[in-house]
């Protein structure tokens, strides 16, 4: 199965000093951009794209993959240390990560997220290398009916992250879903809630909305207690990577999250944020103490962080084998390949085996190196707890403003950021969780389009509506996860 000649030639391509340097540069750049609120992996890769015009395919892919992986990981550093997700991928990490940081276990929390990210990244790199062509079939089979099944699964996730009051959580989830219907209807161009203003044609943009919801509301809550000092003991400043024993204890969570992340990554259009939320909710469901999730526990960090980095390798599967990007960031990566004169698609594997191997090994190396570079970064991040809240408040607000503006030079987006921030502040003050609101907002467009296009396919036939083996498998898994608890409880009696 393994083409050894191509493997050796791939190693030769990677062993170039410039390529190795670019690998490090990519990780550092990605990390910085990931930490900044608003600027996520797609924009990070797009910023570096012009430089790859002058490079060979292998160094340019290594640079961009380094940026991609590190940007997804970097988002968790600000999520944990400041309570604002640097990228959408980190929104599921905020809850437990920031609570743990504030309770004086910051160094530990950052260590958990780094370790989880590396393991997830490595797992998906191996999956990509070994079974990409097999997985590509899965990606090609995903149509509206399959997306609908995944979205229904997502709705159950909304319920699981709803917090202690189901009604309040569902209200937020429904609000998130509703807000995605604003703008032109993708399927027929109908204007929905555009208020006669063309800016609303594109609807409420995802990234400004999410950053506002989390970062701006966090800033406002921070401002309330700016004068109070956060208590911490010096031990929390020290970064601690979890020991082998801890990892063995969490092996189930890590394994499940890696698989969830990789699979969600493969499905075109479903990004790291969805993968992280699914893994978080699954870890919570399987836990013996689900009520502890959200109070600042390591599993609540490891699950989403493992999953979001596992989406990277997963997203590359359809990107390389079908030419259909698995995530927005992978879309830009696909562009980089096209610029190199390569044609991602079913033939790429047979035509460019050495490039493929170089990408697999490169992704593996990136994750190993990210461990070391990440360690340096989180040493600094752990110190952030010393910074007075009064400094963090205006700085983060300015960063969010500039970060969001710079994505498309749009004041409208800054307005959305602010509006979402005020909404987030109000609902958080009233005892609502913003997690279901954000997951609803991420899932909304997929759910609605999948539902409507599934009905178009079915054309009135119920049989045709459910004529989807993959979809039925997902529905069955869903039924099982819902009924598992009650059934086993019954059985034990």
């Amino acid at each position: 199965m393994i083409d050894s000649a191509a493997l050796i030639s791939a190693l030769g391509l990677l062993a170039d000093p410039l390529t190795m340097l670019l690998l490090v540069v990519g990780i550092v750049l990605g990390l910085i951009i990931g930490i900044l609120p608003g600027l996520g992996p797609p924009i990070a890769i797009a910023l570096a794209l012009p430089f790859t015009f002058y490079m060979d395919p292998v160094p340019s892919m290594v640079l961009l993959l380094g940026i991609y992986s590190a940007a997804i990981y970097g988002g968790s550093i600000s999520a944990i240390a400041v309570g604002i997700p640097g990228t959408g991928a980190a929104i599921a990490t905020v809850q437990d990560g920031h609570k743990m940081f504030k309770s004086g276990r910051g160094g530990e929390a950052l260590g958990f997220s780094l370790t989880g990210s590396i393991i997830g990244g490595l797992f998906s790199a191996v999956c990509l290398a070994l079974i990409a062509p097999l997985l590509a079939d899965l990606a090609a089979k995903f149509g509206p009916r399959e997306y609908l099944a995944i979205s229904v699964f997502g709705l159950v996730v909304v319920v699981r992250v709803a917090g202690q009051s189901l009604s309040k959580g569902l209200l937020m989830g429904a609000l998130g879903l509703f807000l995605t219907t604003w703008g032109l209807d993708e399927l027929n161009g109908t204007e929905r809630y555009t208020f006669g203003n063309y800016h609303f044609y594109e609807g409420l943009p995802l990234v400004p909305f999410l950053v506002g919801l989390f970062a701006v509301s966090e800033v406002l809550i921070g401002a309330e207690r700016a004068a109070q000092r956060v208590d911490f003991d010096a031990a929390s400043l020290k970064v601690k990577l979890p020991g082998l024993k801890t990892l063995v204890r969490m092996k189930d969570v890590i394994m499940r999250s890696s698989i969830i992340g990789t699979v969600i990554g493969i499905i075109p259009g479903e990004g790291a944020a969805v993968g992280a939320f699914f893994a978080y909710s699954e870890a919570k469901r399987r836990s013996k103490e689900p009520e502890k999730y959200g109070t600042g526990i390591p599993e609540g960090i490891v699950a989403p962080e493992t999953a979001n980095n596992a989406t990277v390798g997963g997203a590359l599967v359809p990107t390389l084998t079908l030419g259909v990007p698995g995530s927005p960031a992978a879309a830009v990566l696909l562009g980089a390949l096209l610029i190199q004169g390569l044609t991602p698609g079913p033939k790429l594997f047979s035509e460019e085996p050495d490039l493929m191997y170089a990408i697999f090994i490169g992704l593996f190396l990136i994750n190993i190196l990210m461990l070391f570079i990440g360690l340096i970064a989180i040493r600094f991040a752990a110190q952030l707890i010393r910074v007075p809240t009064s400094v963090i408040v205006p700085t983060v607000l300015l960063l969010s403003f500039v970060g969001i503006y710079s994505v498309s030079n749009s004041f409208f987006n800054v307005g959305v950021l602010l509006g979402a921030g005020i909404l987030g502040y109000v609902v958080r003050k009233l005892g609502y969780s913003i997690a279901p609101l954000s997951i609803g907002f991420v899932l909304g467009p997929i759910l609605e389009n999948a539902l409507r296009q599934s009905l178009t396919i079915a054309d009135g036939s119920v049989l045709e509506f459910f004529n989807t083996p993959i979809g039925l498998t997902i529905y069955a898994a869903l039924a099982l996860t819902i009924l598992w608890g009650p059934l086993t409880a019954r059985f034990k009696k």
């Binding site: 430089f51 089979k141 509206p144 063309y198 594109e202 562009g335 079913p346």
Partner: protein, 321 residues
């Protein structure tokens, strides 16, 4: 070292714009607004062209992606920017053709903009899976009349969708239409069995050779690119005389009307660099190029599109009046 040069040029340009006034245009970075997401064909051509313009003009040329909202927010961001040549719009069939023809928009492509050049070119073809029972267009027609087939297009209202609608109305067919967002995604959906038939571009075959089979080119006028990608495949007009088919897929750059003539002249002159054989050779395999230079020539191209689509859309009851 070119990389260093670009960076140095960027810094120099920023320093200049912040400092003393320099009368010579361009003295600061130029933005090119692209109404598509980063990574697709439109974005790639913009980035490659931007790099070439940057070398010609000596300042950085940045690509800004403003996707969504039927391309209207992207067009408006250029219309509302000053007419100083620092904001350029990359036009495409939806932004300059289909959307203004089908709905009320707060801009007019012909009156509010001055086109500089056009490059990207494409036309559509109808594909089925390689193992499909339909080996010819005639067999497909019979099958499509007997059963309501599912057809995959990228977006509703985009040229592939309009080609499909035109096909349906010319031959009296009925389809279930699925919008799969991008052309590669609709072809991948075809390969994966999501749809029975899909509309892609003639160059789409390059990525999926062996997996899909072209049935017909959804156009009437034969151009050299058709023979290059799909040798021996007939156009609709060749297969059935009198049946109409056509698509207008062009891309290029425009500036806001009212931009000083000297700046337009400089930009048009610089655009010669994206029409050279060397530039075209560096483009990805999936992009065809038909270079046209200058406001007048590109304006004619736009008029061709309007003349093509107006009657089609009118016949479908979609033309905005």
């Amino acid at each position: 070292m070119k990389l260093m040069k670009t960076v140095v040029a960027g810094f120099a340009a920023l320093g200049l714009s912040a400092g003393a006034a320099l009368a010579e245009w361009p003295e600061k970075p130029i933005n090119v607004v692209v109404s598509f997401k980063a990574g697709g064909n439109a974005d790639i051509t913009a980035r490659i062209a931007a790099e070439t313009f940057s070398k010609e003009l000596g300042v950085p040329v940045n690509v800004v992606n403003k996707p969504g909202g039927a391309h209207i927010p992207a067009v408006m961001s250029v219309k509302e920017a000053p007419a100083d040549g620092y904001t350029i719009f990359q036009f495409a069939p939806p932004s300059f053709m289909v959307v203004p023809l089908t709905r009320a928009v707060p801009y007019s492509p012909m009156d509010d903009f001055v086109p500089l050049w056009a490059g990207a070119f494409a036309t559509n073809a109808l594909y089925v899976r390689a193992d499909s029972p339909y080996t010819t267009f005639e067999e497909f027609l019979e099958g499509a009349k007997a059963n309501k087939l599912t057809i995959g297009v990228n977006n509703l209202g985009a040229p592939p969708n309009l080609s499909a609608v035109q096909l349906a109305s010319e031959f009296g067919l009925e389809f279930k239409t699925l919008a799969l967002k991008t052309v590669p995604a609709s072809i991948a959906g075809l390969v994966g069995g999501q749809v029975d038939v899909a509309v892609g571009q003639i160059a789409t075959i390059n990525a999926f050779e062996g997996e899909i089979r072209p049935l017909i080119i959804l156009d009437n006028n034969r151009v050299p690119a058709m023979e290059k990608h799909l040798p021996g495949v007939r156009t609709v007009g060749e297969a059935f005389e009198g049946k109409q088919a056509g698509a207008w897929v062009r891309g290029g750059w425009a500036v806001k009307a009212g931009t000083p003539q000297e700046i337009i002249d400089k930009l048009v002159a610089a655009s010669a660099a994206v029409g050279t054989d060397e530039f075209i050779a560096g483009l990805p395999a999936g992009i065809d190029w038909k270079f046209v230079q200058g406001p007048e020539a590109v304006g004619k191209e736009l008029q061709v599109g309007i003349d093509l689509y107006s009657p089609i859309l009118d016949g479908l009851g979609l033309l905005h009046k």
